[in-house]
């Protein structure tokens, strides 16, 4: 019994923090339909502000008010006002991308403002490691005591407010049915803002409470907290607050118990503790009926018709040809410059950009064309790279290894697709995220796969008598792969599969009604996408020649989705632009030091915020703007040249429409 308690008690602070943040997630989800992943970043910011304030000699209560009561809710309100208010009726991807962008951008902004110095966490109420009393001869530390007491008080207050006060009644009505609440005279937007402020406060509180457990305040710890909170929210079906709270606390406790009772030393025991919440998340998503497609209706879905999906406008022939020629010239110049003009490290940068473009193509196929959200594309890339590396160690030629890497990743993609088949929308994304985290924490650590932190070496290929060891030769090889895969995806888009995927993206119910085998199509999409990512990952391994599982962790998956969505997720060109842009910006930013080192995350994180207004991506939007001007100019010139019926020809050659606007 004493042993049991000694394993159980350390789980309580985790559990309380999970429960608080999970309650916040559920509140905002019900009030605005947004699954706000940025709470992870808000928890980090609150913990950081609190610690800094305390270390500057502020009284604890003042620091608490500033960091938790003011800063975090202010941040949440700003998000609601400026961003998520406009995504109410949008699809799951439009709601997810800005939240992911914020999750990535907020820590990097914070770092830029306050610097990168290590910050020690400050305790909120009691000294974290001081022992106050014993339960069944297990020491109860200040951390456990204070988090438990604070959580119980806060949750109790919430319960009282929800039960008795007018504000609670309004909140509950908005949570139950925003449309009905509005008809009954409740201002749903104001109440939804209230829900955002309250849940942000919870997130901040969770951050401040949990911070003292870690040796320093770092944003990655809070992302782990976020994922565990997602699992707790999934236990509650994104609906029930009591179940969510119980789920959070249960999760924290269970993960410590498992760690305690498993034999120590093995990868399973060291990996299972961090991976446990993700396993729970996966099980909860698959098991609960609320996440089924069809059943998993967005709470806001019945409010208004959704915003139209993006489609590129048809262009005048002259302009379309002109832009194609222009792109071809730019691409050729880049290739020529890479081979002839630029210094060696830039050659690497462009090659990296091309390899990354291949990985990004997998997102174009799956998310852009098929509308499926995947947050484990980097894991598929990793599977490809690790396969190539392992095969190389067993004397399989690396050229073959790269292809087999694609094959293995494809198999993995099909396996991941299976449990997602019953799910819809955001739940698919979350399930793939839990797979990514499982791979990071368990699967990739074994010697037979990723070999843990020591990693693998991947040689450059040699096919027949041709060696691709040189950097120029490898550049050509990568370019060849990109062209072949890019053309293949483009052909797919114009073919049967592309049209079926577009139908799937448009409406899954209608797709089934016209006779599309939706399950098969989703498996095909995941398999092809994973294959492309796997080949890209294997090429990356061969490019850098030494890889470790950490090169493919879940954070890359999140960043990739954000980058591609920000630049342009609907076209092959978008994937290439995203890949090259990312590589070039990364190189430019890498010359900066210190606090600006995370500028890249900030750039793409902020770019993702434009996704709400411009789902085609900022680069695609920019191109479209330029082409609009080009069309005006062409028309003007044609009229100036006095061509009879110039305008009529133009009108006839153009398709009439370019969308209703959102």
């Amino acid at each position: 019994m004493a042993l049991f308690f000694s394993y159980l008690l350390p789980g309580i602070p985790y559990g309380c923090a999970y429960a608080l943040m999970a309650a916040g997630l559920v509140l905002t989800y019900r009030a605005s339909g947004v699954f706000n992943l940025a709470f992870g970043a808000q928890a980090y910011v609150s913990a950081l502000l609190f610690s800094i304030a305390v270390q500057h000699g502020w009284p604890v209560w003042a620091a608490f008010v500033m960091a938790v009561v003011l800063a975090s809710p202010a941040l949440g309100l700003a998000m609601e006002r400026l961003l998520f208010r406009y995504t109410r009726t949008s699809g799951p991807l439009v709601k997810l991308v800005p939240a992911l962008g914020l999750l990535i951008a907020i820590p990097s902004v914070t770092q830029m403002i306050i610097g990168t110095a290590t910050r020690l966490p400050s305790p909120l109420v009691l000294q974290p490691w001081q022992v106050y009393f014993h339960i069944a001869s297990t020491a109860v530390s200040g951390e456990e005591l204070s988090t438990t007491v604070v959580t119980v008080v806060v949750v109790g207050a919430l319960a009282v407010v929800m039960r008795s006060r007018a504000v609670g009644l309004r909140m509950r009505s908005v949570v139950e049915s925003p449309r009905m609440a509005e008809l009954a005279g409740v201002r749903a937007d104001r109440t939804s803002a209230g829900a955002w402020a309250l849940s942000s406060l919870f997130a901040g509180l969770a951050g401040v409470l949990l911070a003292p457990i870690y040796s320093q305040v770092s944003s990655s710890d809070f992302t782990a907290l976020l994922v565990a909170a997602i699992a707790a929210a999934a236990i509650g079906g994104f609906e029930s607050l009591p179940l969510t709270l119980a789920g959070g606390i249960g999760l924290g406790v269970a993960q410590e118990l498992i760690a305690g009772y498993l034999p120590s030393g093995s990868i399973l025991s060291s990996g299972l503790r961090p991976a446990f919440p993700f396993a729970v998340l996966a099980v909860a998503l698959v098991a609960r009926r609320t996440f089924r497609r069809g059943a998993a209706r967005d709470p806001m879905a019945s409010c208004d018709p959704p915003a139209p999906a993006f489609r590129p406008p048809a262009r005048m022939t002259e302009v379309a040809v002109g832009s194609r020629v222009f792109s071809a010239v730019v691409a050729s110049l880049l290739v020529a410059a890479t081979l002839a003009l630029v210094p060696g490290n830039w050659e690497f940068v462009f090659t990296f950009g091309i390899v990354l473009s291949i990985v990004f193509l997998s997102i174009t196929l799956l998310t852009g064309m098929g509308g499926q959200i995947s947050l484990c594309q980097a894991t598929f890339a990793g599977a490809g790279a690790l396969t190539a590396g392992q095969l190389a160690m067993h004397a399989v030629p690396i050229g073959l290894g790269i292809l087999l890497g694609g094959v293995l990743a494809a198999a993995l993609g099909a396996v991941v697709a299976l449990p997602t088949l019953r799910l819809g929308g955001i739940a698919v994304g979350l399930l793939t995220l839990s797979f990514a985290l499982l791979a990071d924490n368990v699967l990739f650590l074994y010697p037979w796969s990723g070999n843990g932190a020591s990693g693998l070496t991947v040689p450059r290929p040699q096919v027949g008598g041709v060696s691709f060891a040189g950097s120029s030769a490898f550049f050509w090889l990568a370019l060849g792969f990109l062209v072949v895969l890019g053309v293949a995806v483009k052909l797919l888009q114009g073919g049967t599969t592309g049209r079926e995927l577009a139908a799937l993206r448009g409406s899954e119910r209608a797709a089934a009604a016209v006779g599309i085998d939706v399950r098969r199509l989703r498996i095909v999409a995941f398999t092809l996408s994973a294959a492309i990512a796997g080949v890209g990952g294997a090429l990356y391994g061969s490019l850098v020649q030494s890889i470790s599982p950490n090169d493919f962790n879940y954070q890359f998956s999140l960043v990739y989705v954000v980058v591609v969505a920000a630049v342009g997720v609907y076209s092959v060109a978008g994937a290439v632009e995203a890949g090259v842009l990312y590589a070039v910006l990364m190189q430019l930013v890498s010359t900066m030091s210190g606090r600006f080192s995370s500028l890249l995350a900030l750039i793409f994180g902020l770019a993702a915020l434009t996704y709400v207004r411009h789902p085609e991506g900022v680069v695609a939007y920019g191109k479209s703007w330029v082409l609009d001007r080009a069309e005006q100019l062409t028309r003007h010139l044609q009229r100036g040249a006095g061509r009879p019926g110039g305008l009529a020809t133009v009108g006839g050659r153009r398709r009439q429409h370019s969308g209703t606007g959102s």
């Binding site: 073919g495 049967t496 079926e500 577009a502 448009g506 089934a512 016209v514 006779g515 599309i516 429409h657």
Partner: protein
Amino acid sequence: MALLETAGLTKRFGRVVALSDVSLRIDHGEAVGVVGPNGAGKTTLFDCILGVQTPDAGSVVFAGRRVDRLPTFRRSLLGIGRTFQRLELFSGMTPREHLLVTARVRAGGGRLWKDGVGLGRPLPAERREAGELLDLVGLTEVADVPVEALSLGRCRLVELARALVGPPRLLMLDEPSSGLDEGERATLVSVIGRVRQERGVVGVVVEHDLELVTTVVDRLVVLDVGRVIADGPAAAVLADPVVRRAYLGAGR
């Protein structure tokens, strides 16, 4: 032989019995309207026939084949076209694209390798069928406009045209006139009439709007609280006192 036959179809949601022992027979060439007050089980019947819901008991036989264990898309491929009460269009796609993708799927789909070598583009025959259907429902002028830009009435016509690709052996329309104004409704009625004439496709129409139903069907089935309370020629059914009591309200 009947085209569609349900026997003893029963579906419960918790304690609510949505369908209770519904046996229905639709022959080739028939147009049948299913009417009834709200909550009578019309949409549940529809869903059980189409495979959106699984019935608790009973069977569905379509064209001599038991289909009640088949997934929705297989039933669709056997030749059932449908429209939705709440619009389910492929967002972002034009009416023509709606029809082109459906035509390909109905013809048995494509092969992945054909896409990979560029052979997956729409075939001339598919383009022709799409063009003819767009003419039939009168959407040719907006054929290449994304559906988001169309009025509700036109969206319903897109759904109708999509359900007609193939062509189907059975056409099922779920409340096709809901949310339409007078003009749009008149267009819908004339389009359904033309569809019957030119294509000979029959259908089941689930509808609230008695006036519309009686102009487009010959036979009426009246549901009330999950049971069939009347089944026969439209005029006779509407004169039936049981129907009048249950549906139209006594005293009228």
